[in-house]
């Protein structure tokens, strides 16, 4: 059992990790064909992950409804929304429109999902303004610096700002291109090195958390 639970997954991870890290540097048609084939497996596994996600969501909300937890009514709305959309989606083969005519699935998308998601995002502007008023304070030198940079960028990103303070546009470009880019790049390099280190640890079996818990 240890072989199936531990050694075999470790062996598969090692072989696949080494082979596909090397594959990137081998432009031979056979190597490319192998990549295409394995990419299909990835897509299939992705499909299973979707089923797993939906099942888990249904289970979570079923428990909420059964136990009458606070806000369980919303879980019923979730069930109705999801089951209704899935049923209608399957009925019309997942198409929002057929020959230019909107389907019931398209109606749900255009008249429910689009305005709901748009509203959620639009509300953000109001909360950002409120949060900025409450917390964007020059409590220290660093905070004051951040505040000045934010004001310059906010001015430089709109025509009115550029009209009132013409230099704000160029200053914004400089902040984004020099300060922002250098810091972001440093973070990206750090994250990437971490990802490489973690990948190597997984390939060589040092990091085994992905195998899950349980007895050896």
């Amino acid at each position: 059992m240890i072989y199936l639970r531990r050694q075999l997954p470790l062996l598969i991870t090692f072989v696949m990790g080494v082979v596909f890290a090397g594959q990137y540097y081998v432009p031979h048609p056979r190597s490319e064909l192998m990549l295409t084939e394995v990419t299909k497996w990835l897509q299939i596994i992705g499909g299973f992950a979707l089923v797993l996600g939906v099942t888990s969501l249904f289970h979570l909300h079923a428990v909420k409804i059964r136990r009458r937890e606070p806000g369980w009514g919303y879980s019923i709305v979730l069930y109705a929304g999801m089951l209704g959309t899935i049923a209608i989606g399957l009925w019309v083969n997942g198409k929002e429109s057929v020959n230019g005519a909107m389907t019931a699935f398209g109606w749900i998308y255009s008249n429910m999902m689009v305005p709901l998601q748009g509203t959620m995002f639009a509300i953000l502007a109001f909360f950002i303004a409120s949060a900025a008023y409450r917390s964007f304070r020059a409590r220290s030198r660093e905070a004051a610096l951040l505040l000045i940079a934010a004001i310059i960028v906010m001015m430089g990103r709109v025509p009115l700002g550029e009209m009132l303070l013409p230099v704000s546009g160029d200053l914004t470009q400089w902040i984004l291109n020099v300060l922002n880019t250098s810091v972001r790049r440093a973070i990206l390099i750090g994250v990437s090195l971490g990802a490489v280190a973690l990948s190597l640890k997984i390939i060589f079996g040092i990091e085994r958390a992905y195998l899950g818990g349980g007895r050896e």
Binding site: Q43, G106, S110, F126, Y133, I151
Partner: protein, 281 residues
């Protein structure tokens, strides 16, 4: 409680009202302020402009309805430009929730520009996998999308004649609201299959994409509604983005004023606390 302290704890509904007024008034009474074009947006425009007629342009609309106000005008402007240039346009999305929106943009702009589906453009829709999908497209476009969004076999589409994989695409632009998006197209696509890549994104994620821009990994970046307005100005067809810039100007200024006011009140409070010997907050 002093006046400054009272102002620091102002009812947030007043702030909401200020923002609502600053958004609505310019939309009702537009001023039409001049828009300066940035080099990032010009990068995408000039590359598309330089493509000869019949070149292949792939537009990946990697966003959902939440980002419609910013990315929909970008998509419309890019499609108008590409159709005007008589490019062969391929549309798709990496976000399943964006499929309907992408289909609508394509069909509306194509109709407006007198373009025919299958002949002048193809809309492939969505397929799962993101990275895996891009790699498959790089190997064989028809394996990744055996049929288009309207169930027509892709091999039979006239617009795709002579195109076997991403290697045959001249320019890819990803309009992204997050991941999957521009970075996915670079890592799994451009880096491997050597096509030119440009990007468009929401204002929130734009600063995070500047390293890709500066290193030449993308040749241009249309950032947020401002970027869309710049693109509309470049192609000479002012649309929703230009109209929205007045509202954005007003709300930005409202937020700047609010931040300045809050700091003035904060300084007053600190000074008065310092004078009375209370701890500073």
């Amino acid at each position: 409680m002093t006046f400054a302290e009272r102002m620091l704890h102002i009812d947030r509904r007043i702030i909401f009202l200020v923002i609502a007024v600053c958004t609505l008034l310019p939309l009702l009474y537009p001023v039409g302020l001049a828009i300066k074009v940035s080099p990032e947006v010009r990068g995408v425009h000039d590359y598309l402009e330089s493509l000869p007629e019949g070149s292949v342009f792939l537009l990946s609309m990697d966003f959902d309805p939440a980002s419609k106000p910013e990315l929909h005008p970008q998509a419309v402007a890019l499609l108008r430009h590409a159709f005007k240039k008589n490019l062969r346009v391929i549309g798709m999305t990496l976000w399943v929730t964006g499929t309907g929106l992408a289909d609508l943009v394509f069909s509306q702009v194509a109709q407006e520009m007198g373009k025919v589906n299958g002949k002048d453009y193809a809309f492939l829709g969505w397929s799962p996998g993101v990275g895996a999908l891009i790699i498959t497209m790089g190997q064989d476009l028809y394996k990744a999308f055996p049929s288009d969004y309207y169930n027509q076999p892709t091999r039979e589409l006239a617009v795709l004649k002579g195109i076997q994989s991403l290697r045959d695409v001249n320019y890819v632009v990803s309009l992204a609201a997050g991941t999957a998006g521009i970075e996915s197209w670079y890592v799994f696509g451009k880096d491997k299959y050597k096509f030119e890549l440009g990007g468009g994104c929401t204002g929130v994620i734009a600063p995070g994409l500047y390293p890709l821009l500066r290193s030449g990994q993308i040749n241009g970046l249309i950032g947020g509604l401002r970027g869309a307005a710049e693109y509309e100005a470049l192609i000479g067809r002012k649309g929703r983005a230009v109209a929205g810039m007045d509202a954005q100007s007003a709300t930005h200024f409202a937020i700047i004023m609010l931040v300045i006011l809050c700091n003035v009140f904060y300084l007053f409070t600190r000074t008065s606390r310092g004078q009375s010997g209370q701890p500073r907050g």
